[in-house]
C-alpha cells in the first residue's frame, strides 16, 4: 500500500500546474482538485501512469456547496427563547444565499487502484453556477456511466461527452434537481389518485417540512482542542 505522503508527492510532481489544490486530510486520505480544462488529461494519466494505476472508478458524487457552513439556528450566549419549530430550513432561505462564482457545484471522484492498493479523491468544480458542467470520464472508466447520470439527475451537473445523459433515479417527467440545497425535502409536487378524473394526478405539496432538530455549528468547549475526541478516547 502506497503511503499517502509518498503518493501526494508523486501527484504533485506529475501534475504540478494541473492541480489547484492537493492535501492529505487528517484521516490520511488524499484530496486533489483540478479544473474542467485539465481534468480529462489528469484522469487519463491517473489511470494509465505506472505509478498511479487507478483501475477502478469507485464513485462519482455531486456536491452542492451553496449552504456550506450555514446553520439553521445560532446561539452564543444563553437566552430566553429556545429553538422553535418555526425555524426556517436551509431550503427556505436558500434563495438568499449566494455561492462564489464557480464554487457551487463540484463533482467528486473516488478512485481505487487494486494493483497498487491506494485511493484518491479528486474534486472538480463546475465553472458556472447557473449551468454546471464538467467533462465526462465514461471514456476512461466505463463504470462511470451511471454515476454521472445519477449526479446529473440529482444535481443537474452536465457531464459533457456522456453518451446517454438521462435521468436515472427520479420519476419519469420529474422537474428539478432534488439534491440541490434549494430544493425542499418534501419536494414540490405530490401524487394521488383522483376519483373524478379516474387517474393519478400530480398537485402541489400540501405539507410543509418542519425542522425538528436545527442544524447548528458548534465551536464551544466540547470541541476545542483541549477536549478533542481523539485524546478523550485514547485514555478511555
Amino acid at each position: 500500500m502506497t503511503k499517502p505522503e509518498q503518493l501526494i508527492d508523486q501527484l504533485r510532481t506529475r501534475f504540478a500546474d494541473d492541480l489547484t489544490s492537493s492535501e492529505v486530510t487528517p484521516t490520511a486520505e488524499i484530496t486533489i482538485e483540478t479544473t474542467v480544462e485539465k481534468m480529462s488529461a489528469v484522469f487519463l494519466a491517473l489511470r494509465d501512469d505506472e505509478q498511479f494505476q487507478f483501475d477502478t472508478m469507485i464513485d462519482i458524487c455531486g456536491v452542492d456547496y451553496l449552504a456550506f457552513g450555514v446553520a439553521e439556528w445560532q446561539t452564543e450566549e444563553p437566552e430566553n427563547t429556545g429553538f422553535s419549530r418555526g425555524v426556517d430550513s436551509i431550503a427556505d432561505v436558500a434563495d438568499d444565499l449566494v455561492a462564489q462564482p464557480g464554487r457551487r457545484f463540484a463533482s467528486v471522484y473516488h478512485l481505487l487502484s487494486t494493483a497498487l492498493n491506494h485511493r484518491l479523491r479528486v474534486r472538480v468544480y463546475a465553472p458556472e453556477n447557473d449551468f454546471p458542467a464538467v467533462n465526462s470520464v465514461t471514456g476512461i472508466w466505463r463504470g462511470a456511466n451511471w454515476f454521472e447520470r445519477e449526479s446529473f439527475d440529482l444535481f443537474g451537473i452536465v457531464y459533457e461527452g456522456h453518451p446517454d445523459l438521462r435521468r436515472l433515479l427520479t420519476d419519469y417527467g420529474f422537474i428539478g434537481h432534488p439534491f440541490r440545497k434549494d430544493f425542499p425535502l418534501s419536494g414540490h409536487v405530490e401524487m394521488r389518485y383522483d376519483e373524478e378524473q379516474k387517474r393519478v394526478i400530480y398537485q402541489p405539496v400540501s405539507i410543509k417540512p418542519r425542522v425538528l432538530v436545527p442544524r447548528v455549528i458548534r465551536d464551544d468547549s466540547r470541541y476545542v482542542d483541549g477536549n478533542n475526541p481523539q485524546e478523550a478516547s485514547s485514555d478511555a
Binding site: D55, T114, G143, E150, P209, R222, N228
Partner: protein
C-alpha cells in the same frame, strides 16, 4: 415473407425474478438480447437527502433499510465514516462484535442470494433450506438488538449493548406444543455465544447440503456455466467489487487489503474464480460462507474470554448509562444534549469503505462542522453492478437475464437509495 423486426420487451417492475422493482427494457431479436436498458429508481427514497436533515445518530436506522438483506454491514460503513472523522477508536470488544456480526450478515445475505438465485433458475428446494438457517441468524440479530432485520445495533463509538448472557427461548402455547418448543430450545440453553458456536458447528454441513443440490446439478450448470463471462479487465473497468470482481479472478478483498476493525487478526481465505462466469461467482459466494463461518468461530472464541466495554465512555458522543443519568447532573446534561441536538463533527470530508457482502460499500461524508451531515453519499456496490447489465446480457438469451440478475445479487434498497 414479411420483414422481421426487433421486438422491445418490457420486463418488470412487477416480475418475480426482478428482485424487487427493476424495470428492464429489452430489445430482442427473437430470443436474443440486443440491448438492455434497466430503469431503476422506483424505490428511490432520497436517503442521502433525508440524512442531511437529521443529526448523525438518527440516520443509522436508514442504513439498515438500504441493502435490507445485509443490514449491519450498511450501518458499519456509516458509523465507520463518523468515527474516522471524529477520530475515535472503538473498544476492542466492540470491534470483535462488529466483525462477528458483519460475518453473520454476510451469511444472511448469501443465504438469501442462494435461495433467490436458485428460485429464479428453477431450483425451488434451496430456498427453503436457506431460510431455515436464516431463521437462526435472525434470532441472533433479535437477541442483541430486539429487531430481526433493521437492527440499528452499531453506533458511533461501539455497539449499542453487550451480547446477552441468555439466548431467548421459544414458549409452548396454542400453536407450539411443549415437545416442539423443547426441541427448538435444545441449543438455546446457554448464552448467545453458545448458540452461535453450535451454529458454526452445524453450518458447514448445511453448505454441503446446498452444494449437493446445486454444484453438480446438470440443470444448474447448464444455466450458469459460461453465462455472462466477465474478464478481470472488464470487471475493473465496470467498477465491480466484491464477489463480482473475485469471480473474475481478481484477488481483491478490503478485509485483507485495507483491513478495518480486527480483520487483520482473523485467519481466513479469499476465494477467487477463474472463468468469470455466473457459475464461478456462485462457487465464490459458497466458499465465502464457509470462510465467514470460520471468522465467526474465531470471534466467538475471543469474545468468550475477553469481557470489556463495548462503547467508548466519552459521553459527548455516546449516551451515559441510565443509572448514571439518574444520579449525576453532568450525565443528565450529556444525555439531554445528545438526544436533542446530537454532536458536531469537525469540518472536513471522509470516505470509508467496508467489504459488504455484495462488494465495496462506501460512505462519503462531507461535514461543515454541524450536527448533521452536509452531504452524505452512499456508494452502493449493486449500483455499479446493475449499471453493467447491458454489457453482461448482450447476446444472451432472454432466460439468461434472470440468471444475470441473480448472479449480481441485486437488492433495490441500496441501488435506489
Amino acid at each position: 415473407m414479411p420483414e422481421l423486426q426487433n421486438l422491445t420487451l418490457n420486463f418488470g417492475p412487477q416480475h418475480p425474478a426482478a428482485h424487487g422493482v427493476l424495470r428492464l427494457i429489452l430489445e430482442m431479436d427473437g430470443e436474443v438480447i440486443l440491448r438492455a436498458d434497466p430503469h431503476v429508481g422506483l424505490l428511490h427514497r432520497a436517503t442521502e437527502k433525508l440524512a442531511e436533515s437529521k443529526p448523525y445518530n438518527q440516520s443509522i436506522g436508514y442504513m439498515d433499510r438500504l441493502d435490507y438483506v445485509s443490514m449491519m454491514c450498511n450501518e458499519h460503513g456509516y458509523v465507520l465514516a463518523i468515527e474516522k472523522l471524529l477520530g475515535v477508536k472503538v473498544p476492542e470488544r466492540a470491534q470483535y462484535i462488529r466483525v462477528m456480526f458483519d460475518e453473520i450478515t454476510r451469511i444472511l445475505n448469501h443465504l438469501l442470494w442462494i435461495g433467490a438465485h436458485g428460485l429464479d433458475v428453477g431450483a425451488m428446494t434451496v430456498f427453503l433450506y436457506a431460510f431455515r438457517e436464516r431463521e437462526d441468524l435472525m434470532d441472533v440479530y433479535e437477541a442483541v438488538s430486539g429487531a430481526r432485520l433493521h437492527a440499528t445495533y452499531y453506533r458511533p463509538g461501539g455497539v449499542y449493548r453487550d451480547l446477552p448472557d441468555v439466548m431467548p427461548q421459544f414458549l409452548a402455547g396454542k400453536f407450539r406444543s411443549e415437545k416442539d418448543a423443547g426441541r427448538l430450545n435444545e441449543n438455546r440453553q446457554g448464552s448467545l455465544l453458545d448458540f452461535l458456536e453450535d451454529f458454526t458447528n452445524r453450518f458447514p454441513g448445511y453448505v454441503d447440503e446446498y452444494e449437493t443440490l446445486l454444484t453438480d446439478n446438470r440443470i444448474w450448470k447448464q444455466r450458469l456455466v459460461d453465462i455472462a463471462v466477465v474478464s478481470p479487465e472488464q470487471a475493473l473497468q465496470l467498477g465491480f467489487t466484491g464477489p463480482m470482481l473475485r469471480g473474475s479472478g481478481v484477488e481483491w478483498d478490503l478485509r485483507k487489503k485495507q483491513p478495518y476493525e480486527v480483520y487483520d487478526r482473523m485467519d481466513f481465505d479469499i476465494p477467487v474464480g477463474t472463468n468469470g462466469d455466473c457459475y464461478d461467482r456462485y462457487l465464490v459466494r459458497m466458499e465465502e460462507m464457509r470462510q465467514s463461518n470460520r471468522i465467526i468461530r474465531q470471534c466467538v472464541g475471543w469474545l468468550r474470554v475477553n469481557p470489556g466495554p463495548v462503547m467508548i465512555d466519552n459521553h459527548k458522543f455516546t449516551p451515559p448509562s441510565r443509572t448514571e443519568m439518574k444520579g449525576d447532573m453532568e450525565s443528565l446534561i450529556h444525555h439531554f444534549k445528545l438526544f436533542t441536538e446530537g454532536y458536531c463533527l469537525p469540518e472536513g470530508e471522509v470516505y470509508s469503505a467496508i467489504e459488504h457482502p455484495k462488494g465495496e460499500f462506501g460512505v462519503y461524508l462531507v461535514s461543515d462542522g454541524a450536527n448533521k451531515p452536509y452531504r452524505l453519499k452512499i456508494r452502493a456496490p449493486g449500483f455499479a453492478h446493475i449499471s453493467a447489465m447491458d454489457d453482461l446480457v448482450r447476446g444472451h438469451m432472454l432466460s439468461d437475464v434472470v440468471t444475470v440478475i441473480g448472479t449480481q445479487d441485486i437488492v433495490f434498497g441500496e441501488i435506489d437509495r
